[in-house]
Amino acid sequence: MLLNTSNERVFTVSSITRHIQTVFKEDPLLSDITIIGEISNYKPHSSGHMYFILKDEQSQIKCVMFRGNNYGLDFKPMDGLSVRAKGEIRVYEKRGEYQLYVSQMSEAGRGALFAAFEALKEKLKAEGLFSPETKKPLPRIPHKIAVITSPTGAAIRDIISITLRRFPNMHIVVMPAQVQGDVAAEQIAENITFLNQVMPELDFIIIGRGGGSIEELWAFNEEKLARAIYASEIPIISAVGHETDFTISDFVADLRAPTPSGAAEMAIPEKESLMKHLSLIKNKVNRIFVHILELKNQRCLNLIENIKYQSPKNMILQHLQTVDDLYNRLKLNMKYILDMNENNLIKYREKIISLSPKSILKRGYSICLKIPERIVVKKIKQVEKDHKIEIIVQDGNISANVSGKEEIKNDR
C-alpha cells in the first residue's frame, strides 16, 4: 500500500473530535432519542449533576443529566433501576467520549438484577435467615478476628489500620478471596466454612469489599454465600460497599456495617477508652474503700474518747473533788457551831457571874449565918438573944452575938 503524503489529510485531535461531533449533530436520530436501559454506577455529584451508565446485557452507554434537567425527577435514580432516558447523544470532546445528555427520564420498572435481588431476599426472609433471634452477639473484647476480602483493596487496609488504631494488640487473620466475579461468592462462602472448621476460636469474621457498581457487589447477593453466613458458628459482619448499598449478606449477617472501615469502628472497642473507664471505676472503689476505713477509724477514735471519759480514774477524780467539797463544808459548819457555842458560853458565864452572891455583897448587902450550923438566916425566928452569928460582907466575916431582935409585922 502506497502512501501519498501530499494527498493525506492530517488532523489534530481536537479538529477530528470536532468533526465527529458535527457528524453526531447532523444525525437526526442521535439528536432526539429515547433509550431504555438499566442504571448502573450511578453517581450524583455535589454540583447537582447526575452521572451514570445505562446498560443492558451486551452494551452500555455513558449518561449525564444536568441539574437543570434532573430537578423535577419524580423518582430517585439508583443502580439496577430500569429507565427511559430521552435526550441527545453528543461527544464530550475533552475525553473523546460519546454520551447521552439526558433531558427527561422516567422509570421503566425495576431492572432484572434488582428483581433477582428482591426475589432472593423474600425467599430467605421467609426461611428465617434474617430473623433477629438467630443473630449472634459480638464479644465486647475480641481477641482474634478474621477478614475475608481482597488482600490488595482499600477495604483490608482500612480494616487493619482502624482495628489496630482502636485496639493495638489484636490478632487479625486475613483470608484472601476474590470479591467480584463469578467465583467470588463461592470463594467467600468456602472460606467462611473453612474458618469455622480450623479456627473456631475466632471472635468474628468480617466479609466485605469497597464500593462498586451493583454488578461488582453482586457476589454478596448470592444465595450460596447467604447460606454459608447463616450456617457459620462464628459471628459474621457484612461490610459491603458504601452506606447506601444493601446486599443479601447484610441481611443474613449477625451485624451489618455500612462500610469496611465502619465494620472496624463498630466491632472493635477503643482500648484506650476501656482502660480509662476501668481505671475510673478502680479509683472509685479505692476512694470509697479508703473513705470507709476513715469513717470506721474515726468512729473507733470517738469510742475511745468516750471510754476514756467513762473510766474509773475519772470517776475517782470526780469523787475526790466531791469529798474535798464536803470536807470544806463540814469544816465551815463545824467552826460555825463552835463559834456559836463559845458565844453562848460567854453570855451565860456573865449571866452566872452577875447572879453570884458575891456580886450582891459588893452592892452593900450582907449574908447572916447562924453558928455553928452555918445556915443562912432568912427569918427573925431563926435566932434568939445571945446566939452566935457570922455576917459575911464583901471583904470578910464579922463574928457577932445577937443582942436583941425585933420582928417587923408585915401588915401592909
Binding site: 481477641h143 488482600p151 487496609r157 487493619i160 489484636m170
Partner: protein
C-alpha cells in the same frame, strides 16, 4: 476450689467489668461493716485485674492465611504496604 478457679478464668471482660461496677455501687451505699467492705474491696481489685488481663492478653499479630487443601493452611505475616506493591504487578 478448683471449680471456683475454673469459673474465674472463664469470666468475660463484660462480666468482670459489671462485677467491678456493682462492687463500686455496693461500697458507695456505705452500709457495710469493715469485714464486708474489705472483702468487697479485695474482690474489686481482683476483677479490675481480670479486666486488665483481658485487655492485654492478646499479642498484636496480622497474618495472611493460605489454604493448602485437606483442611490444612499456612500463615505468614501480612503487611499492607508490601501487598500494595505486589498488586502493582
Amino acid at each position: 476450689m478448683t471449680d471456683k478457679k475454673k469459673k474465674d478464668e472463664d469470666i468475660s471482660f463484660e462480666e468482670s467489668l459489671k462485677k467491678l461496677e456493682e462492687i463500686a455501687e455496693e461500697l458507695e451505699k456505705g452500709e457495710l461493716n469493715l469485714d464486708e467492705a474489705l472483702k468487697l474491696y479485695e474482690e474489686g481489685m481482683h476483677f479490675s485485674d481480670k479486666c486488665l488481663e483481658k485487655l492485654n492478653e492478646t499479642k498484636k499479630k496480622v497474618e495472611k492465611l493460605t489454604r493448602e487443601g485437606d483442611g490444612k493452611y499456612r500463615t505468614e505475616p501480612f503487611s499492607i504496604t508490601e501487598d500494595e506493591e505486589a498488586s502493582n504487578e
